[in-house]
Amino acid sequence: MMHYDFVFSGFGGQGVLFGSQLLAYAAMEAGLHVTWIPSYGPEMRGGTANCTVVISDEEIGAPLVRHPSAVVALNYPSVEKYEPQVAPGGLLLYNASLVLRPPTRVGIHCVPIPASDVAAELGNAKLLNMVMLGALLQITGVLPIGTVEQSLEAHLPARRRDMLEANKLALRRGAELAQEPLVAA
């Protein structure tokens, strides 16, 4: 049985919604069961947004999880919030460009990705969500990058079409950065 539960968290405008939705689209298009659920209401105050994506090859029960198997944290408040929540042995992937105090929890994999810096190098700060998603795909192997690229082609909003290749590149850069083997802290 295959079952993943991911949390994406960051400031509004960092592309949390689109990055996580893209993963959900790709899972759907790969024929898997998937749920995507945003936090809504008062939780969104203060400008942080988070979404939970569950991907499984079976009917999905709970779409929310207390201890996600992986968290993609785009800013420091997200690291603070989710570091204690990641499932033991799970993954905390964080945007090292913005998180100056790295997580220290023992028993989970904490992986820094300088996503904002890489996005800036690629010419657009908004690409950071794709860099992080690329890294997540690489580390977890949940879906091949090619599948996500296809979904990107199908679901990138029309007004962003000119950014298609840049988005793909960001995905691949993220994957490259995450290629080093992992050791639990």
Partner: protein
């Protein structure tokens, strides 16, 4: 047709459109507003009626008007808005006109909050307004089910000339899942013969939600009750996991000894818990009512013949719990796990409750001799009695 990834609220709106809804009236309230917004765009595109009413009171009465006109009509709201609709719902019921109501529940009481909740079970199932009647209440647990049940809602509403409610919580309204949408249906060519369309070339039609004489009003009530009984006989729906025969897995034999009962979002969370508990070797299954009204009481009573115990899980203080207890009729202990105020129960908490139930009922207590043992877990920390006042 290819699957689409859709939010529950929008999927319901699109499903209603494809089921041929001709008019939508509503008032903004979180967490159902996407439904109204979706309608505001799509209905005029299709030349159908969309109107943002001045209140839920007005919205439900507009629904009543359009329903009297024999048109497929719906509204959607969330808990406080449904409270305001109660009078109108009762008029619709008394008039035997079809209408579909979507309630995306939020935390209560009062203004409560906009977080997911199942606090409207009583409000929708027991009495969606004054007088003796029951709407059909459908409780989806997935976005696909929300789509399918919305289409069914229109069919049942017209077949029985009744109110059908699609009852979900904010979580399902906000979440995205892959769905297969139904094909677009043609709109009905002509309104039904009873509709209020102008007395052209026929005797006048009237819709009258009252009877002054007691005998006449009792007759109206008998007709309603016959309809409700008919619906109860024919329309009960539920889904079971790991309970017996076909849907039990190979590992643990074919009969669940413990039954978790939960609907909607709580039902799907409970599914995760049930799976986890089965990993621990506990023979537990899930019964998820899809029609909350009519309630699957016969099935639960049948399960109670052999089950060691029941666990009801809800996002409220124990509303469906009462119906489960009635169905079980004291044949087995019934425990409860509920969260309120917009808290969503988590699978590990439910799994713990399953373990407790397992431990408790595997001791050889003979509840059939001792009389019904109906336990109810405390749903919060016990409060110290206040002193000096009462």
């Amino acid at each position: 047709m290819a699957k689409q990834l859709m939010k529950g609220n929008e999927a319901i709106a699109e499903a209603a459109i494809r089921a041929g809804v001709e008019a939508y009236f509503g008032y903004p309230i979180t967490p159902q507003t996407e439904l109204l917004e979706y309608m505001s765009k799509r209905m005029p595109e299709l030349g159908r009626v969309f109107l943002q009413a001045e209140s839920e009171v007005a919205a439900i009465n507009m629904v009543y008007g359009a329903a009297c006109a024999g048109r497929r009509v719906m509204t959607s709201s969330s808990s406080p808005g449904i409270s305001l609709m109660q009078e109108g719902l009762s008029y619709i019921a008394a008039s035997n006109v079809p209408a579909v109501i979507v309630d995306v529940m939020r935390g209560g009481p009062g203004l409560g909050n906009i977080a997911p909740s199942q606090s409207d079970y009583f409000q929708m199932v027991k009495m969606a307004g004054h007088g003796d009647y029951k709407p059909i209440v459908l409780a989806p647990a997935t976005v696909q089910e929300a789509v399918d049940l919305t289409v069914l809602a229109f069919d049942l509403a017209e077949q029985y000339r009744t109110i059908v409610t699609v009852l979900l919580d904010g979580m399902l309204g906000q979440m995205m899942e892959p769905v297969e949408l139904p094909a677009m249906r043609a709109l009905p060519a002509t309104p039904p013969a009873w509709a209020i369309t102008g007395a052209a070339g026929r005797a006048k039609n009237v819709v009258v939600p009252f009877r002054l004489q007691a005998d006449e009003l009792e007759a109206l009530n008998f007709d309603l009750q016959r309809k409700i009984a008919d619906i109860a006989r024919r329309e009960v729906r539920f889904k079971e996991y790991f309970i017996d025969g076909a849907n039990a897995d190979k590992v643990h034999g074919d009969r669940a000894e413990l039954i978790v009962v939960a609907f909607g979002a709580a039902g799907r969370v409970a599914l995760s818990a049930v799976k986890a508990a089965r990993q621990q070797g506990i023979r537990v299954g899930l019964h998820r009512p899809i029609t909350l009204s009519p309630f699957p009481d016969e099935r639960l009573s049948q399960l109670a013949d052999e089950a060691r115990g029941f666990l009801v899980v809800e996002m409220n203080a124990g509303q469906m719990l009462e119906d489960v207890k009635l169905s079980v009729g004291g044949q087995a202990p019934v425990r409860f796990h509920g969260r309120m105020g917009g808290q969503v129960p988590m699978p590990d908490d439910i799994a713990q409750e399953i373990e407790k139930l397992d431990g408790m009922t595997s001791r050889p207590i003979d509840h059939k001799i001792e009389g019904p043992v109906v336990l109810r877990a405390a749903v919060g920390p016990a409060r110290k009695p206040e002193t000096g006042r009462n």
